[in-house]
């Protein structure tokens, strides 16, 4: 304690003592470093191993998977992938998911941004009430809505259709999107908007030409957040997209694949299907990991 409490100038006057102390500190930290790296590596292995195993197993034959789960494949059997892609229709489900997510993401962002903009920048009667009504939707578990939602969608003639899914995904993403973007639009400077209005810019042009470009960082964060949640959606398609399997999304296709491959004992096909579904997400994640990490954590923190 006493040595450490000494002002740094004294330490500099006694280089020997300082060096000894330095070495001791470094040794302690070295131990700590080894300790940290040990645990960190252990968890990294725990996280990566199942995923790596899935990838490697997608190249194995069923015999290899059964006899030696830890072994490497004897050859790279890409036929597993093509079997999953065509025979198990993973390709088609992939495309379906893409269509639905493209539609729902566009709709969510458009409606979310416009509503948030109004809440953030305009005064009108009942604004608070409507805003809380909107944002309150974040609080409720989706399970509560499932039964009536099933009938709302069916009565609208949208059951088993992509349009139905697109509308429902967008509707359920609106509360968070509006919440996030309202806060974001509030942070943008008012002076620019006022200047534009004085220059004779209309309210609509102001939004599309000035405010929307300025809100780009916020829009990107919330779009990434919504993209992942729409792409990974499971319970809504499961309830609203029963029947016609040619319209299924990826999550449903994978579930069906797991069930059928379980019966047939085609494990390699299942691993190939899972790998195909994982790779694009992995690629997007590695490319945008900074934005995704900050976007998702900021999203949860609100």
């Amino acid at each position: 304690m006493t040595t450490l409490d000494r002002p740094t100038t004294t330490a500099a006057e006694e280089p020997g003592a300082a060096r000894g102390q330095d070495r001791r500190l470094r040794r302690e930290l070295g131990v700590a470093n080894l300790f940290s790296h040990g645990f960190l590596l252990l968890w990294a292995a725990l996280t990566a191993l199942p995923l790596l195993w899935m990838f490697i197993s997608s190249f194995k034959s069923d015999g290899e998977i059964l006899s030696d789960p830890w072994g490497l494949p004897g050859a790279l059997r890409f036929e597993n992938w093509s079997r999953a892609w065509t025979e198990a229709h993973i390709g088609r489900y992939f495309l379906n998911s893409g269509i639905v997510v493209a539609g729902s993401l566009t709709l969510t962002m458009l409606l979310g941004a416009t509503a948030a903009y109004v809440f953030a920048r305009y005064e009108f009667r009942g604004r608070q009430v409507v805003y809380y009504l909107f944002v309150g939707g974040m609080m409720f578990p989706v399970f509560l809505a499932l039964v009536p939602l099933f009938f709302v969608v069916r009565n609208a003639g949208l059951f088993g259709s992509w349009t139905g899914l697109i509308l429902v995904y967008a509707a359920y993403s609106l509360p968070f999107t509006v919440f996030f973007l309202t806060a974001f639009f509030r942070t943008l400077p008012t002076s620019i908007a006022e200047a534009a209005l004085i220059d004779g810019c209309g309210h609509f042009r102001l939004f599309f030409r000035v405010m929307l470009p300025m809100a780009r960082p916020g829009l990107i964060s919330v779009a990434i957040f919504n993209f992942l949640s729409h792409w990974n959606q499971f319970i809504l398609p499961q309830v609203l997209m029963q029947g016609d399997d040619s319209k299924w999304v990826l999550a449903q296709g994978l579930t069906a694949l797991a069930v059928s491959q379980g019966y047939q004992g085609d494990f390699s096909g299942l691993f190939a299907g899972l790998t195909i579904a994982t790779l694009p997400v992995l690629a997007v994640y590695v490319a945008f990991q900074r934005q995704i990490q900050t976007g998702l954590t900021a999203g949860q923190l609100k």
């Binding site: 304690m1 930290l29 070295g30 700590a32 470093n33 300790f35 790296h37 645990f39 960190l40 725990l46 996280t47 199942p50 995923l51 195993w53 789960p69 979310g112 416009t114 509503a115 305009y122 009108f124 009504l133 939707g137 609080m139 578990p141 399970f143 509560l144 809505a145 499932l146 039964v147 009536p148 709302v152 969608v153 429902v168 967008a170 609106l174 509360p175 509006v178 004085i198 309210h203 609509f204 939004f207 992942l228 990974n232 499971f234 319970i235 999550a251 994978l254 494990f267 299942l270 691993f271 899972l274 579904a277 997400v281 997007v284 994640y285 995704i292 900050t294 954590t297 923190l301 609100k302």
Partner: protein
């Protein structure tokens, strides 16, 4: 500047409100009404029965069993996930060798963070299907390793004593990375000199974590707590895909119970909605409770 404001408010607010009202608000409101009927699915016939569904719920052993499992998840998942998240975030942000006060991150922090976070962007369906294979009694990764070490190979998901814990472990596994990043972001906002000062005073890493990091991060921990508590009340996808509640209802959760009651063979929509209402109140009370306890602790620290 007020001029022309209302056309914009109306065009910008009406479409999102309409979508939200039809697909979110109205189902939630209808759910309460349906929960007081004896509606059996697709029949037009639904008589009001008042609170009868809720009275039945009180004596429904299966629902209580599911609630018990959710309660265990609620007690275990947040503690483990936050604990591991804080531990690894501390290692990553302060386990480094450089600097005499030892408050720098370890080498390769960004790589660790990338690997840890990955399960968070993966679809829960993929995680569930992958882990189902990892736990596979014959060709799974886990039993492959156990057999190689000459240890007995349990059936994991096939055994009522272990199935639930296996699912719970996957829940923790998939969430830890997110909280490592979340806590890491919060830690980097804490001024360095605080750490340098306490470490120079000879505080151990454990004391530093307990006395400095956790109190300073308390707001973030509180948010994490609420999110994990809400997640622990769900667990639907993991359970449905990995065990479907079995064997012998040992891994059942309330979301699955609700889903099976509504969309299973019996299609008891009235009763399922009552379970949904119970879920809503459980979620809300857990959120309020988590906020309350967290607040009390914060006062103790500051």
């Amino acid at each position: 500047m007020k001029h022309g404001k209302y056309p914009l408010i109306i065009t910008f607010l009406v479409p999102p409100l309409l979508l939200y009202g039809v697909f979110v608000l109205s189902p939630y409101l209808q759910a309460f009404q349906i929960s007081t009927t004896n509606w059996l699915g697709y029949s037009a016939h639904a008589d009001p029965v008042g609170m009868a569904n809720f009275r039945t719920l009180l004596h429904d052993g299966q629902v209580w069993n599911a609630i018990k499992n959710n309660a265990i998840m609620l007690a275990v998942v947040p503690v483990l996930t936050i604990g591991l998240g804080l531990f690894f975030a501390t290692m990553l942000n302060m386990g480094g060798r450089k600097g005499r006060a030892g408050v720098t991150g370890v080498r390769g922090t960004s790589v660790y963070r990338m690997v840890y976070f990955f399960p968070q962007v993966l679809s829960v369906v993929i995680i569930a299907l992958l882990w189902k294979e990892v736990y596979h009694p014959n060709n799974g990764l886990l039993n492959g390793a156990l057999r190689a070490l000459g240890l007995p190979a349990p059936t994991w998901l096939g055994d009522p004593r272990t199935a639930f814990w296996c699912v719970l472990a996957v829940m923790v596994w998939s969430n830890v990375g997110f909280y490592v990043v979340l806590f890491g972001a919060a830690m980097s906002a804490v001024p360095r000199d605080i750490y340098e000062a306490v470490m120079l005073d000879g505080a151990s890493r454990w004391t530093t974590l307990r006395r400095i990091t956790v109190p300073l991060l308390w707001d973030t921990v509180q948010v994490a707590w609420i999110y994990l508590a809400i997640a622990a009340l769900d667990g639907f996808i993991l359970v449905q895909q990995m065990t479907n509640g079995g064997p012998n209802f040992s891994s059942d959760v309330i979301g699955l119970r609700m889903y099976e009651t509504a969309f299973g063979s019996e299609s008891k929509f009235g009763y399922a909605s009552a379970i949904g209402v119970v879920m809503l109140f459980l979620t809300l009370s857990v959120a309020v409770l988590a906020l309350r306890t967290a607040r009390r602790d914060r006062i103790e620290y500051s």
